[in-house]
Symmetry: C2
Subunit: 227 residues, 2 copies
């Protein structure tokens, strides 16, 4: 999965995936001391992206967290160095012997975009099956909360679920949808190692995953320990 070669980077003025929109607006505020309105004409560039779901999957048969591991180009790009091919070309290179694919590997919660008109919980259920291989009943999916991802640029909503699964619900390998180019490894982390895992800075991971583990230990683990 992390065997990445032949890396080039080009400008991309007409991306299908990243479409900036410019919002023009007036923002007024009342000054604290004076009572005059202070109008300010502003612009802000943003982009519309799909809302998403993220799911903390906990296998209670064996007390392990189920995470997904994948190569993320954006993180690889962020952690490597671009070099120009030549002065006349827009094409830049990344030396994949100096910057191995391993630096772009992340560990994340099972997650996906809300691109269908089914319930958000049905989408979460589908991602748990596709990515992790568990057929989780909707009753085992607990909606925890929602928050905004990327307040600066996208502003999209992420709904966070907790899914309790058992070994009996494991019906496949997971791994994502190969036809969509997904290459995902399913990773199991024992509950005792969970906190250390998400606080390990050498591991690329989104902050939502750290929140999920703190939430689990604050709200769930004591219930399992007692039972």
């Amino acid at each position: 999965m992390d065997d990445i070669t032949d890396v080039t980077v080009t400008p991309c003025s007409n991306s299908r995936y990243i479409k900036p929109l410019r919002m023009h607006y007036h923002q007024f505020f009342m000054a604290l001391v004076h009572t005059t309105n202070n109008g300010s004409k502003k612009i802000w560039d943003a982009m519309k992206v799909h809302d998403s779901v993220a799911v903390l999957v906990f296998n209670k048969t064996r007390n392990v967290f189920i995470f997904v591991k994948q190569f993320r180009p954006a993180i690889y790009l962020c952690k490597s160095e671009l070099t120009k091919q030549d002065s006349t070309s827009d094409i830049q290179h990344i030396d994949s012997t100096k910057y191995p694919g391993q630096i772009g590997i992340t560990y994340e919660l099972c997650a996906g975009i809300v691109d269908k008109d089914t319930g958000v919980n049905v989408i979460a259920q589908g991602e748990v099956l596709e990515e992790c291989g568990y057929q989780v009943p909707l009753d085992n999916l607990e909606k925890v909360t929602t928050y905004r991802s990327g307040v600066g640029t996208t502003g999209s909503l992420q709904t966070f679920y907790y899914a309790e699964v058992t070994d009996k619900m494991k019906v496949g390998y997971g791994g994502g949808v190969a036809e969509e180019g997904e290459m995902i490894d399913v990773i199991e982390v024992p509950v005792a190692d969970g906190m250390k895992f998400v606080m390990d800075e050498s591991i690329n991971k989104p902050v939502g995953m750290i929140f999920a583990i703190y939430w689990f230990f604050a709200n769930k683990w004591k219930l399992y320990e007692k039972s």
Copy 2:
């Protein structure tokens, strides 16, 4: 701050702020059963953005969290409806009477981008002063961890700090840099209300803020309660 009017949205093919890059690469993986290499040529659109800092500011004189409140155009755009001015124009409108600015208001941790070559802690210190009005000594800034913001598109690194402040360190109003167009309100939330506040889904907030509060209660609050 939330008095937003005259909102239009235009396409933006040449944003100064959102510059997509297209990464071309080969990704190989070993099939589990077969031993053949399976090479896959891929592209991914991403954008380079600055790394950032986020700071949970806790005022121990009065046991309050210090948050920042601001209007976020990306969230406003996400939660409102665009209507075409006419069929020949690219300009779209948002009806600010139907979608008041209030829907784009967020509560966040004090935060900023790493755009100077000083230490990351110095940048965090500067943001606490600019946004919240506290002159916090570097010794009171505790680096907690790092994580990736936006694994799909940006991959940038955010460093999370905890800043313990007192009323004596309050040297200004905060509010951000007016010359840079920042309009920020400083909000105080009593520690007893913190968890309810960040789990309130009617409040727009990033997940990093929820993590910060969970981290505080797991690691810090007991120390203060005892003292």
